[in-house]
C-alpha cells in the first residue's frame, strides 16, 4: 500500500493506492494523524488507486472524520471511490458520514 500527500493552500490531498487491511491500516492512521497534528483538517482522500479496504480501514476513516469535523474545523471527503468499496461503505452506513466526489478536482474544490 502506498500513501502520498499533496498540500494545497486550503486542504490536503491524500492518495492511497493498493490494499488497506489490518496490516496496512496503521499506515493510513499515521498519514492522517500527521496532517491533523499539523492543524490540517480539510482532507481529500483520493481512492482511485484503492483496490481493497476492510473494516480496519473504515475504522481509520471514522476516527479521522471525528477529528476533522470537531469544532467544525474541517472534514474528510472522498474522491473516485471504486465500486466495490462504495458498496461496502453503503452497507455500513458510511456514505452518510462522508461526502464523495467523482474526482479529486471536484473534491478539492468543495472544501
Amino acid at each position: 500500500m502506498e500513501i502520498t500527500t499533496q498540500r494545497f493552500k486550503h486542504c490536503d490531498l491524500l492518495t492511497v493506492k493498493g490494499r488497506v487491511d489490518s496490516a496496512t491500516a496503521p499506515l493510513l492512521t499515521q498519514a492522517l494523524e500527521a496532517l491533523t497534528n499539523d492543524g490540517r483538517f480539510k482532507i481529500v482522500i483520493d481512492m482511485s488507486g484503492l483496490e481493497y479496504m476492510s473494516s480496519a480501514g473504515f475504522r481509520v476513516l471514522l476516527a479521522g472524520q471525528r477529528t476533522c469535523r470537531r469544532y467544525n474545523r474541517g472534514e474528510i471527503v472522498l474522491a473516485a471511490v471504486p465500486q466495490r468499496i462504495r458498496e461496502a461503505l453503503e452497507l455500513i452506513g458510511f456514505t452518510e458520514l462522508f461526502k464523495s466526489f467523482d474526482n479529486t478536482t471536484a473534491a478539492v474544490g468543495s472544501l
Binding site: 490494499r19 487491511d21 489490518s22 496490516a23 481493497y52 476492510s54 473494516s55 480496519a56 473504515f58 475504522r59 471514522l62 472524520q65 471525528r66 469535523r69 466495490r84 461496502a88 452497507l91 455500513i92 452506513g93 452518510e96 458520514l97
Partner: protein
C-alpha cells in the same frame, strides 16, 4: 466428505500464522478458490473480505493479538457454492453477544464494534460458529454462486 468425493471437488486446507501479514496470502488462497469455482469479481471480493474480517477477528479476539498460533482455512468448493471453514484454538466467543453496528447513527454516536462480523454476514450467505474446547473454534461461511450478494 463423501459428497466432495462424488463431485470430484478438491478441498484444500492451509494453515497460516495468526499475523496480519498473513492476510495477503489468505485473501489470495480464498480468492483463487472462489475464482476457480466460477465466481465473478464481485463474489470473489466478497469472499476475500469476509475471510479477512474473520481472520482479523481471530487474531485480535481469539488469540488476543498477533503471534504464531495457527489459523486453519479450508476451502471446499461445490457446484453451486463455496464453503470456507476457519478454525482457531483460541478463546471462544459468543457471536450473539456482538452488537449490531448502528449504521444510521451520526458521527458522534457511531460505534466501531461489530463491524467485522456485520460485514461477514452481509458478504456470505450462511455463517455458523461452533466453539469446542476439544477441537478448536470453527467458523463456517458459505457463499452461493450467482447469488448476487
Amino acid at each position: 466428505m463423501a459428497v466432495e468425493a462424488a463431485f470430484g471437488c478438491t478441498m484444500r486446507t492451509l494453515i497460516f500464522p495468526a499475523r496480519y501479514s498473513s492476510l495477503t496470502e489468505i485473501r489470495q488462497f480464498v480468492g483463487a478458490a472462489a475464482r476457480d469455482g466460477g465466481m465473478d469479481d464481485r463474489e470473489v471480493y466478497a469472499v476475500q473480505l469476509a475471510v479477512d474480517e474473520a481472520c482479523s477477528n481471530v487474531i485480535e479476539h481469539a488469540y488476543g493479538g498477533e503471534g504464531d498460533e495457527p489459523i486453519e482455512i479450508t476451502c471446499s468448493p461445490h457446484p453451486d457454492r463455496l464453503m470456507i471453514i476457519l478454525r482457531d484454538y483460541g478463546r471462544p466467543f459468543d457471536p450473539t453477544a456482538v452488537p449490531q453496528p448502528d449504521i444510521k447513527a451520526d458521527l458522534s454516536r457511531r460505534g466501531v464494534g461489530g463491524l467485522g462480523l456485520y460485514l461477514i454476514r452481509k458478504m456470505m450467505d450462511e455463517v455458523t460458529y461452533e466453539a469446542s474446547s476439544r477441537a478448536g473454534n470453527s467458523l463456517t461461511m458459505i457463499k452461493r454462486k450467482g447469488g448476487g450478494g
